[in-house]
Amino acid sequence: MNGNDEPILSARGLDLSFGAVRALDGVSVDLWPGEVLAIVGESGSGKSTLLRVLAGEAAPSAGSVTYRDADGAGMDVHGMGEPALRRLARTEWGFVRQEARDGLRMGVSAGGNVGERLMATGARHYGDIRAEAARWLERVEISADRIDDRPGLFSGGMRQRLQIARTLVTRPRLVFMDEPTGGLDVSVQARLLDLIRGLVSDLGIAVALVTHDIAAARLLAHRIVVMRNGRVVEEGLTDRVLDDPRHPYTQLLVSSVLAA
């Protein structure tokens, strides 16, 4: 079973406060191999903080995050130390940011951006790196002849696709996405969501997706976690949560979107 009967990432009792604001208040979530988990909620509900804590970028004041690698060995994300965490972050994990600027190197060509993770994990053959970068650009629907262009010359949607290629090139097992479609217009969003859905199911990647866009969550996610004021107020399969919301806040969230 290769550990598929155990969560790839599990968080227990996460607490984190910023002054008087309780960004995380006893949050526990599990993410299973190959699963897309959407974390939804309004601005300030703690969803982005949760993602940062899950990815080891911020330390919780209480609670733990455990990652299970391909061999099924459990690792404490906040106890493994920075070298191990960084190695994980550039091999088995990926992070797609809302702002492509934060996730890309704007001064480096598209090919260099995609190749960076390959080189960080020891690839030293220029021809191979470039060929792999070209393959991935095609895969995210960027023409391979733009391989030497810098991301500054790309549109917002292309930058976001480039960021996805750059993240997925090392075939991570787990990807964190923070509002990957934020700031894009609706038609571009739709294509990007389609692309993400295809790649994620092809590669069997587990995804923790933060979004305030219920439509994106419905399209991509297998399960949904609804957050409010740092707490998980509802959790369940996507269709169940969106079609039959139980918590009053979820009902409000869902109805306010569907009214459009």
């Binding site: 920075e82 070298p83 960084r86 550039r90 190197r105 001064g107 480096v108 060509s109 090919g111 260099g112 190749g115 960076e116 993770r117 080189m119 960080a120 994990t121 030293r124 053959h125 220029y126 021809g127 790196i129 470039r130 391989i147 030497d148």
Partner: protein, 315 residues
């Protein structure tokens, strides 16, 4: 001592050197720099912070190198100073004159073989270095990753974790744009298989000379307040790709003065009708090959004709 070595004398006692400690810096400062240097030698290629002092020359003219030289030099030493390989350019002349003035007893030379301490900007002499010699490099930017990662705290972390994929990205970019690996100067090196290091803006032609050099190599960056070092016989490898190996760059020409075809050359403009010649950038080496008429210490300058040097500006 040979005739090539001259006394320091001419200016000492005559100018403002009076009242200064030997080699300008006070003993406390020298000790601080030596301690940093010891640490740098102990961890080859690792940048060690030091309390860089104001020096009587502007940043970018070798304030780091001059402080390192001042900290390691003694009255029994023989100092050579080169700038772009030449002993007779402004930077070299003024630093050599500075030490002649503030370090009584110190001798200066232009001959690489006679020198015990060689302060350099942008070159390593052609004459092979030997044990017991100290190379002092003037370094404008000690951080090899600075163009790729502007945050100093982050680059320190990358060094600590030996996380150098980023540097490889820069090389990738070079090949993607220029079709070949590496820059023509300041090509990054791995020292002792552990630390990524800027060799200072020496031409990539000189990089192989750093590898297992018998001389002690010290690097000083005054404005950036960093020192680093490569002890004798240390592995220094230029970064490259498997399918684009590192190749030192050199103009495909012979020196117009001495005929050498294995030295680093400067291109000189000889007239205003497009006339150009290549000459050795290492004036001492070139002169020696021409028959040694230039031996005999400090020249009065300007004896080599042929127009302006094509080197870059001050570091």
């Amino acid at each position: 001592m040979s005739a090539a070595v001259q006394g320091s004398d001419r200016s000492s006692g005559r100018t403002g050197a009076e009242g200064y400690n030997f080699a300008y810096l006070d003993e406390g400062t020298k000790r601080m720099i030596r301690r940093a240097l010891l640490k740098a030698v102990a961890v080859p290629g690792h940048q060690v912070p030091f309390g860089s002092r104001e020096m009587p020359l502007p940043y970018g003219w070798g304030t780091g190198g001059i402080q390192v030289t001042a900290a390691v030099i003694g009255p029994e030493d023989v100092l050579k100073v080169i700038d772009q390989g030449a002993d007779d350019t402004t930077n070299a002349v003024s630093i050599r004159r500075f030490f002649a003035r503030v370090a009584p007893g110190l001798r200066t030379t232009e001959r690489t073989a006679d020198a015990t301490v060689i302060q350099t900007r942008h070159r390593i002499p052609e004459t092979p270095l030997r044990e017991g010699q100290v190379m002092v490099y003037q370094v404008p930017q000690p951080e090899p990753l600075y163009k790729l990662e502007p945050r100093r705290a982050e680059t320190r972390r990358l060094h600590a974790l030996a996380d150098y994929g980023l540097m490889q990205v820069k090389l990738y970019e070079d090949i993607a744009r220029n079709g070949r690996v590496g820059s023509s100067y300041d090509h990054p090196v791995m020292v002792g298989g552990r630390y990524l290091m800027s060799p200072s803006p020496i031409p990539s032609f000189d990089n192989p000379k750093m590898h297992r050099s018998p001389a002690l190599q010290l690097f000083g960056a005054g404005r950036e307040r960093r020192l680093y070092a490569v002890p004798p016989y240390t592995e220094v490898r230029s970064l490259d790709f498997d399918d684009h190996p590192f190749e030192p760059l050199r103009a495909r020409a012979r020196c117009a003065l001495c005929g050498a075809d294995d030295t680093y050359l400067d291109e000189m403009v000889t007239d205003d009708r497009g006339g150009r010649v290549f000459v050795c950038s290492d004036t001492d080496y070139c002169g020696e090959r021409q028959g040694g008429e230039r031996q005999g210490g400090e020249r009065q300058g300007g004896e080599r004709q042929g127009g302006e040097r094509q080197g870059s500006g001050a570091a």
